[in-house]
């Protein structure tokens, strides 16, 4: 469906900057495009971003970098997202860092598997550039409520 795009639409759809200057985000994805898009979407709002293209690289970065959260793809060469999550949870230095799965696995049961594996959240691809930060915020808020209980 190709909607006519009235001109006033352009201003309405202009992104409003959210204040997330204090966010340090590690994004792990083997797809360069996904890395680029997620990085831009977060940086626009002020977040600091580091990227890795597989689980091993991601873990290497975590040795010196302590992010606010990790956005983690599932299917990757070398080390996939499941194994990287497990390695992070096994390491006392990284086990408390929130990890959100960012994945194109969107068949029935995938979300349940992800949550069962210990991820803090699940964002299916393709994600919306306009709303990804809001989504992350709501996942983090939910997680904090969960911790408080």
């Amino acid at each position: 469906m190709i909607d006519p795009s009235p001109k006033q639409n352009r201003n309405a759809r202009r992104a409003k900057r959210l204040d997330i200057d204090d966010w340090h985000v590690l994004i792990v994805d083997d797809q360069r495009d996904n890395l680029n898009i997620a990085t831009e979407a977060l940086r626009f709002h002020g977040a600091h971003v580091q990227t890795a293209s597989n689980g091993i690289e991601g873990l290497e970065i975590l040795e010196t970098y302590s992010p606010t959260l990790v956005l983690l793809d599932l299917s990757m060469p070398e080390m996939n997202g499941w194994d990287m999550l497990k390695a992070m949870r096994d390491n006392p230095d990284t086990q408390k860092i929130p990890v959100i799965a960012l994945t194109a696995h969107v068949m029935a049961g995938d979300e349940a598997n992800v949550m069962a594996a210990g991820f803090d959240g699940y964002i299916p691809k393709p994600f919306s550039v306009a709303t990804i930060v809001l989504k992350i915020q709501s996942i983090l808020a939910q997680r904090q409520r969960g911790d408080a209980v």
Partner: protein, 604 residues
Amino acid sequence: MLQFSPYLVLIGFSAVISIFLAWFFWQRRPAPGIGSFVTMMLALSCWSIASALQLAVTTLAGKAFFINLVLINVMIATASWFLFTLSYTGRDGWVTQKSVLGLTIFPVLTTIAMLTNDYHNLFWTSTSLTASDGLITHIFESGILFYVHTAYQYALIVAGQFILLRSVIRSPQLYRGQIGLLVIGALFPLIGNIIFLFIGTPLPDYFDPTPTIFLVTGICIGLAYYRFRLMDIVPVAREIIVENMVDGVIVVDREVRIVDINKAALKILGKEGKNVLGQPLLNVWEKQREALMQFRGVEQAETEVNLIVNNEPRTYQVRLSPLRDRHGNLTGRIGTLTDITTLKQIQHKLEDARQKADEATRLKSDFLATMSHELRTPLNAVIGYSELMTSGMVGDLSEQHWEYTDRIASNAKSLLELINDILDISKIEAGRMELKLRPMHLSTWMNELVVQNQVLADNKNLTFTIEIDHHLPETLIGDADRLRQIAVNLLSNAFKFTNEGTVTFQILKHDSQLWSIIVTDTGIGIPPHKQETIFNEFQQADTSSTREHSGTGLGLAIVRKLVLMMGGHIRLQSELDKGSTFTVLLPLITDVPKTENLVVGVTS
């Protein structure tokens, strides 16, 4: 010269009944012992006739002739009786030419003794005539040979009765009635004869009631036949069924010697003729020694055995059951062999087909999952980059750049919709679509839909009216996501094909069983001949290449499949240039299931 007595009528009557019974049973051939029985009845009838003539003639020579004839028929009748009991109780094997010949030796000797009495007077010591009741009758004094003859006749009758009695005791309850009747029949002539010979009767000496009494035997057997069909059951069960059974039947005794075997079993053994009877099964079936050993000492079994029969591998189902005497002691075993080779082959084929079908289903599901992942990944990039640009996150664009980028984004979103629709259709068709039935709050569900779709109305300056029936419960059971999919598809169609006027969205209570989602528009309408096909995949009312309306053509197909999965149905009313009304009727479920998350899988 002949004389008359009223007793002649009685004797003649007996003769007629005997002949009738002989004829009657002759019609019922073949049945066990029927030959012997018919012979017995004929002999009985001859006996009666000879007895009548003996009374009627007045000369000593004539009387002697017919008395001899009576005695010959008595011998035939008793021998036939004995043979009948053997056949009837299943001892056919004993009724051979040799044994029948053996039975005739004594009567032949008796007959010779009888005919040559004039020379030795050992059969009759004296013969003379006398007058009694105005009739000329005979006085024949019995000699030693006559008593031997009589003893022999009684021996045969008693032996036959003994054989029948044994059968009565050993036979299943079912047959006791008929054999009991036979024994009663058999006792009659014996008792009658004893009374006649040793005790005496009020009847005159010259009248021999034995053939008349013997007739009772025939009538008893006739009754038994009619009431219990004895001539049918035994042979059918024993001979015809077992012998011609497709299954092999082997009976062995305690020492595993073959006692009985039918044709089918002989074929399996690769033997001919019944000369295997009495031989140890292990010797007869040397080739299958190993297969047989597993049944050693086993009384009861049901198992499958693979055998080579006629150089062909066959599979048999073997059923082994113990045979016991009435004290419960094991006397032998009966084994049946059923050829299940074809059945097995079909089973294997079915199993293969099922595995292949499962494999195909699995491959299809895997393919769907892979497709879904592989298509979404590049789409994510296209949509993501376009949105980065149109949202101004990566700097400003010229007017034209912005518009074209926006077009890239909306085309990519259309493609994504199409992929989702194809996946949905495939999932429904593969039976992998699951309905998650949960309580849903109707007005909340409807309000969300209205908020989502208001923008479509605003874009085209259409009126969007909604109605919710307050007779409906606030909460009902359904799959909110799939119901939303149905409503969104119907609403987006309504907005797409309506250029001015109103789109109405109603949720109504149809009756006590059904509720309905109704979407009405004032759009272009659907021509009657398209009203059926638009629910098929890739069908739009306008299929021309220049059609002005975009869309996958899958929306209504998905709607219909989902509605059917939910146990509902969909109706369409439409008029060209006036508008369309889609009515979805769904079962009204209000009781909350115990389980929070009831999942219903439906194969379409």
